[in-house]
Subunit: 169 residues, 4 copies
């Protein structure tokens, strides 16, 4: 017995969410050289990327913990691992807004959209059997949308090539 009541734990728990949401928001808004025109879009994408990286890492591990039919989850695990890695690095690039390299961000977002799409499609096939695959598929799908949306927004307002729209289907 460590002397912590449930009430205390609930109190400790609640602020976390608020801090986390505010943290990303505040950091981007206080960035001395942030892309303040698109802060809301970056924030959307970043939240989706972090949720997706977490869901994929957890889904791969949950698959490995399934007592039966692990054979059928091989591809799900590998796409989870790829997607987690790609989302994590894409988030890091989006957070770096000092001298942000537009071409690289486009290319990395494009790779990320593909990773999310592949992982969503694979996880969907196991969604009926495993809740973790169902939730992961939804999270990947949402992340794919947010990254694709951001890709469109920053392409549409790009100085170098304002007419192009490289958003991926």
């Amino acid at each position: 017995m460590r002397g912590r009541s449930n009430a205390t734990m609930a109190q400790l728990r609640r602020p976390t969410y608020r801090i986390q949401m505010k943290t990303l928001d505040l950091m981007l808004r206080h960035h001395p050289r942030g892309d303040h025109q698109h802060t809301a879009d970056y924030l959307e994408a970043l939240n989706a990327l972090e949720a997706c990286a977490a869901a994929c890492t957890s889904c791969a591990d949950a698959c490995l913990g399934e007592p039966e039919n692990l054979d059928q989850l091989r591809r799900c695990i590998t796409t989870d691992l790829d997607c987690a890695d790609v989302c994590s690095v894409t988030a890091r690039l989006l957070m770096r807004q000092t001298d942000a390299p537009n071409d690289l961000i486009h290319a990395q977002l494009h790779a990320c959209v593909l990773a999310c799409q592949l992982c969503a499609e694979e996880c969907e096939q196991h969604a009926g059997m495993h809740d973790h695959c169902r939730i992961c598929a939804e999270t990947c799908h949402h992340c794919q949308e947010r990254c694709n949306f951001l890709l469109g927004e920053i392409s549409a307002s790009g100085v170098a090539d304002p007419e192009s729209d490289t958003a991926v289907g």
Copy 2:
């Protein structure tokens, strides 16, 4: 002009937060071999770790974007980079709950508590000058607390050594 009203953007924006919060929660609760006794504590720590990794990555970049006195932010940038890396990998280990290796999780949480403490102390010194350092210091401090709390909880309930408490000051 890309024909998206603010209303649409607000609609797109709101679900993200809800999905992100629910995602981690749902993934842990649906994990076939999760440590369900401590789900709330893991969730707290994971949310704090992800916020801290993001804040540190963003703070390092914001420091590099400051127009003046970059010289004084060298150590802040390096502690930010270390803390971001350590928090990210600690989160990954905590998410893997299949055959979770207790000793390794303890050691990694211990390293993470130190990384957060060092980064909080360094960022606090620049909190009066830079809002990103102030927010980052608070986020590191919160993460240090949540990791330390989890360290205490899983030590207190450990099968191998139920009496030990390796929580770090």
Copy 3:
């Protein structure tokens, strides 16, 4: 005095290189579902990616340790950090050869070629002043070449579209 002679240290040191080279080579050759047609190309790219990720991490840190003119190294540090992250994740994807997703690997290699190119160009501008920038520029350049070469090889032999060549200039 810890009682280790220089001779012992030299003995300890030498095998590392041999083990490291052999490790990647052996792992790929013993992979049950590896792309054995292109093992040499993957190995080249993987070695270059790991060297590049290490050089960029070290160059960013060395820049932060320079006693003078840190102002002029801002962009070098941010491109170093981006390039290190992108190379690390690209290497992870290339190492995963079970059900390797061709489209994703192409897109990630493409992003990596851009990251290396940007970082090589930026580091070259400081090569006359700082040896770490000079070495990092060479390493990035080499990595760009190896990733671009692999991109060409796997495109040329791709089942889905054998005639296409998406190698980047």
Copy 4:
């Protein structure tokens, strides 16, 4: 046919190894604030860490590609994934030598020694069946030794506490 002779490919291949070895060495030796007293030890550990991270990533993937008895490789895959992540982040911390935080480096090396030990022990159990597990076990074992050795060296010469020796069994 892409018009590249085997001779050209061999020429392209050979320099990689040389560059990679020289890269880490040169970067540490040209670091303006590197721990030049221990460069050889850092170099040993860094080479071992990168080989180990690569071997573990590849071994996890090779396990997932094994046609039979995947069930028995669950724990091998999860320890591989943990070890790859911990080795990668430990290498990043060791490469950052500007204002290197001694306590954090000790704690992270300690966690890494545990990760390598766990993974070596698990992979050894499958070494008779799978070459990738055998090679991975050797690589983890070597990395554990090099990190433990570095831990002893930097503890022995630490300014703050020159008598302590925190090297792990």
